[in-house]
Amino acid sequence: MSTTAEHTTEARYETVVVRGLSPDALLAISEERKLSLLRDDMVAAQEYFESIDRDPTDVELEVIAQTWSEHCKHRIFGARITHTTNGGTEEVDSLFKTYVKKVTDDICEQKPGFVLSAFHDNAGFVDLDGSLATCLKVETHNHPSAIEPYAGANTGLGGVIRDILGAGCGANPTASLNVFCFGAPNTDPATIKGDDVIHPLGILRGVVRGVRDYGNRMGIPTTAGAIQFDPAYTYNPLVFCGTAGVIKHGDIAKEVKPGMKVIAVGGRTGRDGLKGATFSSMSLDTDSHASDQQAVQIGNPIEEKKVADFILEARDAGLIGFVTDCGAGGFSSAAGEMLSEVGGHLYLERCPLKETGLASWEVFLSESQERMVLAVAPDAVPALQELADTYETEMFVFGDADGSGILKVSHHGEMVVELDCTRLHEAPRRELPSEFTLAPVNAFAFDETVDLTSALKSVISDFAVVSREPIIREYDHEVQGNTVLKPLAGASGDAPQDGSVSAINGSEKLVAMGLSILPEWGKTDPYAMGLACVDETVRHLTCCGADPDRLAILDNFCVGNPEDPSELGRLVETCKGMAEAATTYAAPFVSGKDSFYNYFETEDGPVSIPVTLLVSGIGVVDDAAHVTGSSLRHVDSDIYLLGSLTSDLGGSVYARQREITDAAVPHADCATNLERYRALHQAIRSGLILSAHDVSEGGLATTLAEMAFSGKGGIAVGLPESVPVEAALFAETPGCIVLEVSKENATALESALGGHALTKIGCSTSAHADLVLRYGSKDIVHGSISDFKDLWKNGLTPYY
């Protein structure tokens, strides 16, 4: 049983004079208090307080700083942007509204009843089977992971799991994904500029262990992921954590009503995680490592597990009116959001603390982990207290919703916050310029003298291609007993898969999860990156057995300095490509997030990350029989290529290895691809497909080798001669998939997919046979599959 908690003994706050000050003086206050509020923001706050004829308390200023922070308000995505491209200028009235919300609204009209909620809750839901719904949320925890890799990643995953527990009246978390962008693990330490920058190896190990210890203890399988390596990420690593969930349709709607009690449950409140929301909205520099560690929270997954048990049982008992999690901004954002329309009164002295002596603002703004806030009917309080006792977690009645429309926070009888939130929701709009010019592209310098077997070995050994097995095995990807398509499968259980599929308790249907991240593409052609990320996600989900017409996607952006017009210009172009693809695939966005200021001030100037887009998605798999893996299953199967390769090698692993940076990046033909994916889905439903693996990083040669890594047989293929041989091997053309089909189904497949660029390219050969790739009459690659597999399987083992 828990010990008696500490509480504050007095209110500690001060009044901050803002009325009558000049904008410069206001800005000085923002800087002195690390509020991260801009000059216009401070002026707007001043106008508010002048209108109510008093000066704010420091608690109120902190509340406004958190509410208007980039982290919480996404002001760059809401900004008015003047975008210059190809000599023309256009106005983008909010990236979010233009390229995310409108796209989704239009799709919702086309697919009524599929999207059940989007954008307004902690995660958006789509229909699974008419009675259950599924959701996915992905968050970044970049700056905390840069300075405290273990704790940063630990609480990154902990936070996104709470988003799922706080979605609807509480969804069951079913599976997690993790995507990391780091410097190469073999980076020479002497090349790193900046004293306190943690070497990528330290980041990698700390982050993986942080994710492991949270996910495994929570009992949520980590089933999907990816890692990208680029020198720029050495200074500002990216850590994306995502969790999918399931809920009954009837538990999605939630509402705070006047008269309800506001309840907080879970961990106690301390000084850990102060100003995390504002910290993550600034860039990093050497001082961050020393001065901002207070901003990194400390995770306790067992506390969160107890809270999860409490929430899910309270939901099933119908005791929850509204629930949300304490993330960035702590009680201020959780309770503030909850009471923003209805209004209410909270009492800080009731809050159990980890330590004594917290100031009023620290209690209200602390980002201590594992806390959830609920609104419940007054007569539900005793039953909830009993549940909290059952699961050995702490709960207290924080205050009441009162219908006044005013957020009131008192502390030992003194009013420390009294704000009309409806007037504070709209932060001043930002206005930003952006520009983008596509650099001239040159034809790829094909080189007939390249030793192609060596080239394939080197592509397969690339950090972007090698197996993540040492990391995947540290995550429990089987807990809950529902992981049907595992991240590693095939006859020896160690071959890669395009995505993962989880069975869902209480449903005949399953949920596939897939993702795509291609930062290398965006360096040349961000529009192409936007297209390709959506295409690859849809392709992954389809290959796994999901219906391409019933999937939902998420956009997670990480960008350097948005005040640099060229960086913002790349973001705008990426958004355009992404929106174009999402519209064509009719793939709605149900959640998304953006993270800015991902750059590091070195002595030689700022190092910014490449504009990075992670698209992730969930798709409905109608029947367990449709689940399709990426591993070769039988000897003597026919091997087909679905889709046409192009000779555009820009952005590919091969081009990067050849140090070619000016080649054209392929543009996904989404309309054609959608018809292809629909036809493939019908073929999967008809049982024609033994395995399917997409052509992505490393090209067709890598795809074929990876299929053969299952150990079931060799592969002998004649490469398409419509493109030069290096493109045939290594082009990463969107829309292309390799299929394994039994000989008896070959005719049926050809009639089903004949109109969709289907080409028979070869067959699987006997067990222990080689990988043989022919081009014309020549065997251009002929090697032992186990040799290739050793390179691929052990690429990361020296480092992790």
Binding site: R217, K305, V484, A489, G493, H634
Partner: protein
């Protein structure tokens, strides 16, 4: 109608395999009830045929895996669990449950410590069935596969008791290859009565053929090996 054998699943803060373990037990014919430890007392054992400690990280396993759960079980239930067992009751501990049963002294002496790799390992393991005569393993073949997922699964003893467990037949399950550094590759142990089994692998994760990593795995009646473990136990208790 004949009463179904009843299984009680004790749940600690951090236990996280109770849902799928209850599902596995029910698929084999048991009725089940999950009881959080804060609500457990001697009375919860009445009418119970099988007590199951399922996998997870009780209290975070920050001290030694299973140690706090052992203390809390003794505080809540006193001798009742041991009495239940002595009176003919069955006990099953999976993963963290194996660690707790070992700490409770119900299983043969020894400790489950950090894997020699120092890492959590989530993979599949082939197991050798040394006790097809036991209540738990009757329907299982000489060798079968189950998933493992643990960081502290290396079974060790102070002297060479572990080897004697092999000779005495208490080591009901061994790995066919080195998974975690366990002495004599021990994966699961029976107690002297044959009514308590602890094992590190997760039978509840392999109920159906589709749970196997290889889509072409040939199933016995479409069921996974884990199902047959629960079915064996069901038949032994229902008989």
């Amino acid at each position: 109608m004949e009463k179904r054998p009843h299984a009680l699943l004790l749940k600690f803060p951090g236990t996280n395999c109770d849902v799928e373990t209850a599902r596995a037990l029910e698929s084999a014919g048991f009725s089940t009830k999950v009881v959080p430890i804060a609500r457990a007392n001697e009375d919860v054992l009445s009418g119970v045929d099988l007590v199951v400690l399922s996998g997870g990280f009780s209290y975070g396993d920050y001290v030694m895996a299973g140690r706090l759960a052992q203390l809390e079980t003794e505080r809540r239930l006193g001798d009742a669990l041991k009495k239940f067992h002595a009176d003919g009751g069955y006990l099953l501990g999976i993963c963290n449950g194996f660690q707790i049963l070992t700490k409770l002294g119900i299983l043969p002496g020894g400790s489950l410590i950090d894997n020699t790799s120092g890492r959590f390992q989530c993979r599949w393991a082939t197991l050798k069935n040394h006790r097809p005569d036991s209540a738990f393993l009757k329907h299982l073949p000489e060798e079968f596969e189950l998933p493992v997922a643990h960081a502290e699964g290396r079974f060790v003893t102070a002297g060479d008791e572990a080897l004697s467990y092999i000779n005495d037949g208490l080591a009901a399950l061994t790995y066919t290859e080195d998974i975690n550094g366990s002495t004599a590759a021990i994966a699961g142990l029976l107690d002297e009565t044959g009514r308590a089994l602890g094992l590190m692998p997760h039978p509840e994760r392999f109920l159906e053929a589709r749970h196997h990593y290889d889509p072409d795995w040939k199933a016995q009646d479409g069921k996974g090996s884990g199902y047959w473990m629960f079915k064996s136990l069901y038949e032994a208790i229902a008989a």
